[in-house]
């Protein structure tokens, strides 16, 4: 089974790419309304392959093979300095400069070879991400078959989606930072294209532009981080290889964990070995020492790298202050919101931070920042979501908020925290995709209206949508035994755990409170949306016309499947599955093993396997369930039982301007416009004027100078012969005078 891993790893992205190519070429003229078939089949194939891959990877772990690398081709090579040719030249030039000695000793320092291969890798983390991405995208494509029906850009939609799935599967399975960046931007491009799918709508075009630009700002940080990584470590590969150099003693987790099948990393160009990676192999223990005796001192560079990478993660995963693009991205078709802007692409930032766990482990400061930003964003987005009236935007802010939870968990840096963050990523994909698809179903029935004030009591008209949506809401609110309960509980437990620590525990204490308050707010705004949409008196907007009926089976089918997931995945993986336990599947990822090693202060020789109790943290679970139920109760009170109470209760908030603050999204867009966009535009306009008048003016003045000189001398050549004669005579006189002198 293991020998299939390379093939599976290639097939998973290759199938969607092929589908994208087929639809792009044939879609417009031949496939037309059948354009979903190639994509759906390809994604189903990928999904199947991903499931097989998970089992194959699991199988291989029994033989202590945790990392599988497939090298496709070499992307770019820049030959390094210090080659023989250079030495010969320095000898040649030696006579003229006395520094040839210096320069030869220095040549090793100047620029190491740059080499970048297209390499795929599989480990537990990748396998889980691949499974999640392909599963959700398959369901979304089936759903979109019904949702996008009759759209003039039908084929275009499916081509973009297939391209996105290709990029996303590549993003989680590539093996170095450059390729990660490549596909990081590629998913951003797909997001840009899909947000602006209805490009005739100015709002959609603007939202696409905004998404791309805000992501570019994040990528700016990401790129800086990557460059710094390269200048610091001299490599950008995750994977590793010099396994043979470490003796395989039983105590060596680091060793056993990264043993790679040599045949799989065999490279014809580099016999025997591959360059050492940053995270894998013997570098895992190195991470533990980074803070102490790294030449760049106290891990400052590592902190800088972590923070810069986190800027990239903030852009992609919509964390404060770069979260502004995600709510606007709801201008895209709803299946896209479900797939890209809820379940998959926005979790790329979480994946990045999880993938860089050893780096973050080396920098507690960076971890604190990640947690703080995560917790703050969770709270902020929840506060904004309280007063929004657009169903999709409420869900978008809730996505921002839940992503904040995940960062909060990752920032604890503990084994429990990272696992909990990934667990939440996994469960969130199910219930948030479900909620978005449910919202799409509502929108479909309501003739495109998505304002929750305009409809109500839809539970009878849309029974399946209603029940599945309710499941999603319960999961999002974290009610036992739905999926969100388990993962959110794990996150809060991890934060509570960390708050007990002496070092910087106080931060996590506050973050725990923030997380708990967010849990209350989440339950409130989720059920506010639910009650306003499905409960109360039946109200249907004019735009709906005769369409106010349940959606077709192509749409409700995926809803039901996802609803089952939203109910069950949490409990299943909590109790039955082994892949989120400390010694479970996810923790077999080499980078996550670093956490276990880090726990040992004296070094890395005797790694301590952390012994967190992997059971629901009872106190935390009780508190979070209590606040969630309270949130639901308040929502019920305000929007079902006593609507008049809502008015009177929110009056003081309105007076204080808090309501406006929340409704206006804390005016962050306006602040950006005033502080960044408009000043830059003004500067641009000013520079354009400078260019035209100052710089070009100077050039023209230089050009005018000879002309002016000519104009000055022109009277001398007036054509008056007498004047010439006079000058000639004077000249002769002067000459004669000079000769006689």
């Amino acid at each position: 089974m293991e020998s299939y891993i390379p093939k599976l790893l290639i097939a998973i992205p290759a199938l969607p790419l092929a589908a994208a190519a087929i639809v792009a070429v044939l879609g417009k003229r031949i496939l037309r309304e059948q354009s979903h078939w190639p994509v759906a089949l390809a994604l189903a194939g990928s999904c199947l392959a991903s499931v097989v891959l998970i089992f194959a990877v699991q199988q291989a772990q029994k033989d202590h093979r945790h990392e599988h690398v497939v090298r496709l081709w070499t992307w770019a090579v820049v030959q390094g300095a210090g080659s023989g040719e250079q030495g010969a030249e320095s000898g040649e030039r030696g006579g003229s400069t006395p520094y040839s000695v210096l320069s030869t000793t220095n040549s090793g320092l100047s620029s190491p070879a740059f080499r970048m291969d297209i390499v795929l890798r599989a480990d537990s983390l990748t396998a889980i991400m691949l499974g999640m991405v392909t599963f959700v995208s398959t369901l979304v494509v089936i759903y979109a078959n019904g949702y996008m029906h009759g759209d003039p850009g039908y084929w275009r939609f499916f081509a973009y989606v297939a391209l996105f799935v290709f990029s996303m599967t590549m993003l989680v399975s590539v093996s170095n930072f450059v390729l990660l960046y490549v596909f990081w931007e590629a998913v951003g491009l797909c997001s840009y294209l899909l947000i602006g799918f209805w490009f005739e709508k100015p709002a959609a075009a603007a939202a696409g532009l905004k998404a791309f630009l805000v992501n570019r700002i994040g990528d700016f940080g990401f790129a800086l981080g990557v460059f710094l990584l390269w200048t610091t470590f001299g490599t950008l590969d995750f994977h590793d290889s010099k396994v043979e150099t470490i003796p395989a003693t039983p105590g060596h987790v680091a060793t056993t964990i990264v043993r790679v099948d040599p045949q799989e990393i065999e490279d014809p160009n580099v016999p025997g070995t591959v360059e050492p990676g940053i995270f894998g192999g013997h570098h895992v223990p190195v991470v533990g020492r980074l803070t102490k005796d790294h030449p760049f001192g106290e891990g400052a560079v590592v902190t800088a790298i972590c923070l810069l990478l986190f800027v990239g993660a903030c852009g992609k995963s919509a964390q404060f202050p770069l979260h502004v693009w995600l709510p606007d991205a709801m201008e895209g078709p709803t299946p896209v919101s479900a797939l890209i802007h809820a379940a998959t692409m926005v979790t790329a930032g979480i994946y990045l931070v999880a993938r860089c766990t050893p780096l973050y482990a080396a920098s507690p400061d960076a971890q604190a920042v990640v947690s703080t930003i995560g917790g703050f964003t969770a709270l902020l987005a929840a506060l904004i979501a309280l007063t929004q009236t657009d169903l999709k935007r409420i869900l978008a802010y809730s996505t921002v908020s839940q992503l904040g939870y995940m960062f909060l968990a990752l920032g604890t840096g503990s084994q429990l925290g990272v696992t909990a963050g990934m667990f939440h990523l996994f469960t969130h994909a199910f219930f948030k995709a479900l909620l978005f698809l449910g919202a799409g179903s509502v929108m479909h029935a309501m003739g495109g209206v998505i304002d929750i004030r305009q409809f109500g009591g839809l539970r009878r008209k849309l029974p399946i949508t209603h029940w599945t949506f309710l499941f999603g809401c319960l999961a999002l609110s974290g009610i036992f035994p739905f999926a969100g309960f388990w993962s959110k509980d794990a996150i809060l437990a991890a934060v509570a755990e960390k708050a007990g620590e002496a070092q910087s525990g106080w931060i996590y204490e506050y973050l725990y409170y923030a997380g708990t308050i967010t849990a209350f707010l989440t339950a409130f705004y989720t059920f506010r949306a639910y009650f306003l949409t499905f409960q109360g008196d039946e109200r249907i907007p004019k735009e709906a016309g005769h369409h106010a009926h349940e959606s077709p089976a192509a749409m409700t089918g995926p809803l039901v499947i996802l609803a089952i997931g939203a109910l069950g995945v949490g409990a299943y993986f909590q109790w039955m599955g082994d892949f989120l336990k400390p010694d479970g599947f996810l923790m077999q990822t080499p980078v996550l093993k670093a956490l276990q090693i880090q726990a040992e202060p004296a070094g890395y020789h005797v790694p301590v396997v952390a012994t967190y109790p992997w059971s629901p943290h009872l106190t935390v679970a009780l508190i979070s369930t209590a606040v969630a139920l309270a949130g639901i109760a308040v929502a019920w009170l305000f929007y079902v039982a006593r609507p008049d109470l809502a008015e009177s209760a929110t009056k003081p908030a309105k007076l204080l301007g808090l309501y406006a603050l929340s409704h206006g999204k804390f005016f962050i867009d306006e602040i950006y416009a005033a502080l960044i966009v408009r000043p830059l535009e003004a500067l641009a306009a000013l520079l354009a004027l400078v260019d035209r008048y100052v710089i070009d003016g100077t050039v023209n003045a230089c050009g005018a100078f000879p002309r002016a000189l000519g104009a000055m001398l022109r009277p001398l050549q007036g054509g008056l012969v007498q004047f010439y004669a006079l000058v000639m005579a004077l000249g002769v006189l002067a000459l004669v005078g000079a000769l006689l002198w």
Partner: protein, 639 residues
Amino acid sequence: MKTVLLITLLLPAAATILPAVGRMQARCWALLASLATLVGAIVLVARFHVGDAAFAATDYAWFDVAGICDHAYMVPDIRFSIALDGLSLWLFALTALLLVVAVLVSWEAIKDQQSLYYRLLLLLGTGMLGVFVARDIILFYLFFEFTLVPLFFLIGIWGSEQRRYAAIKFFLFTLAGSVLTLLGLVAIVLWVWHASGAPAMTFSIPELTKYLQAHAMPYRLQVWLFFALFAGFAIKVPLVPLHTWLPLAHTEAPAAGSILLAGVLLKIGTYGFLRFNLPMLPDATAASMPCLLWLSVAGIIYGALVALAQSDLKRLIAYSSVSHLGFCMLGIFALNRVALQGGALQMINHGLSTGGLFAIVGMIYERYHTRRIADFGGIAAETPVLAFFMVFMTLASIGLPGLNGFVGEFLLLMGMFQRAWGTAVTEWTTQYRVISVLAVSGVVLGAWYMLSLVARVFFGPLRQRAPCTHGRHAEPIADLGLREVLALVPLCLVIVWIGVQPKFILDRMGPAIDQLSSQAMRAADEKEELTPRRQAAKDEGKGRMGERKMGERKMNQEKYEWPKLSTCLPLSFSASVHSPFPYVLFLPSSLPLCGFAPLRENSIGRVIPRQKPLFDNIWNSEAERPGADQLATELICVP
């Protein structure tokens, strides 16, 4: 291969002689000739082997002076010498490709005097190809200046409203700089001749490079010559603030002119830096590194911001060229391997993507007869294929991974980071770090102005067009035809190819660039080594330097400082007397003497006795004439 190169080079020019009559024939001939050129270029690319330094070389003595004036004190050995190396190969191929695109784009757009137009276009083609293959300084300069003439007429006759002004400004501006460049180039030739003591004065670029790499010029002289070469090349590039001819010329030129101007002619500047400044004047290059990096990054940011404020499609793209060429220059002057490769690759990339953008803008103009961005809106609904290509080229231009722009930008920024963070901390380090971070921010600005351009022109609701004065508003807007698609598809294919597999190009380019830049890179590293801020700490920590070297180093630290103004003034006076600049006067007077001898085989190796010095006016007798070393010491020791 020798013949292929010769034919490919001369074919466009030869095609202009053909007696083409009627408009159909003119453009068909032009297309055929440019296609044949492209085929030749492809054959050359296919046959090129990694590491070839003088591929498909042709070498003939050209101005055979020795035969005419036997008593000449010096024998200018000007040769018709052409060859390809890893760097020029790609620029050559790029030119051939863009020439085809230019002809296809002009197909319908040019209605008047077609025969003349296509002849000028093809002549321009030969001029541009020649610049990249020339291996003789005079030949290089001939082609270098020759490109101006056809372009001058192309802009001046077929341009838009301000065409005359633009043509004259373009011509004079670039000419002003390149005259100084000629001065510098000839001074290099004369210095080498003087220093080597060889009877024949070689103009061969490889030989000069080889000599200068073995025997460096005195530093001060290098600085002066660097400035002279800089004048011409920096205007061509163009570096801010010498760029103002560019937006004007780009905007006023016909579409084909803009394509070739942006795609190829700007590269002549960066190519000049790579071909002459880096290998021949390495110490001056290293010394000027901070200055040029600042200018480059200023160009990146400034070009991007000014582009943001433009209201004219072509002007916007023209300013984006300023920004992108800033990236190229940044890569070149970061002076390390990765960055240089990135910078050189970025030259090709910019040619492809900006050439494509100008072609598309030409197509838009053909349909809508306006270039004002405000006149457009939502035209993607009318012309989806055009919109597809526009978005594609935009993405290539803003460096989307998977397309070509990313590879170049990524490599050169990586190299810049290597320069800023990777080496020892010196007094320049902080500056480098600021520069590198600013340069990366240029990537964000690039996405801003390009994507908002696309959004304003192509997206949103379809804008009702104002009644047009040409009375053409009634006719429906057609999407791209087959000819236009065929013009753009090759560009797109190459863009994707470079994005996915840049190794093919980098492998071939690498050795050539290493060869050209090794001295400059070494000098840059030396400079880093000579001016470390944390000197003491480093010495204690690593014990790398002995005391003797410390002393030596201190003494020679001034080597890489800029000459101060107080020293500059006497120096310039002294240089005007002692330096080889006056030699230049010799050239114009000697060329008529030489005459144009028919091409014949090399006559190097004939020993010409030095009987009659021509320089009596400078050094009164043979005895007083200083030798090369003495000259060098004099130049350095001027206060």
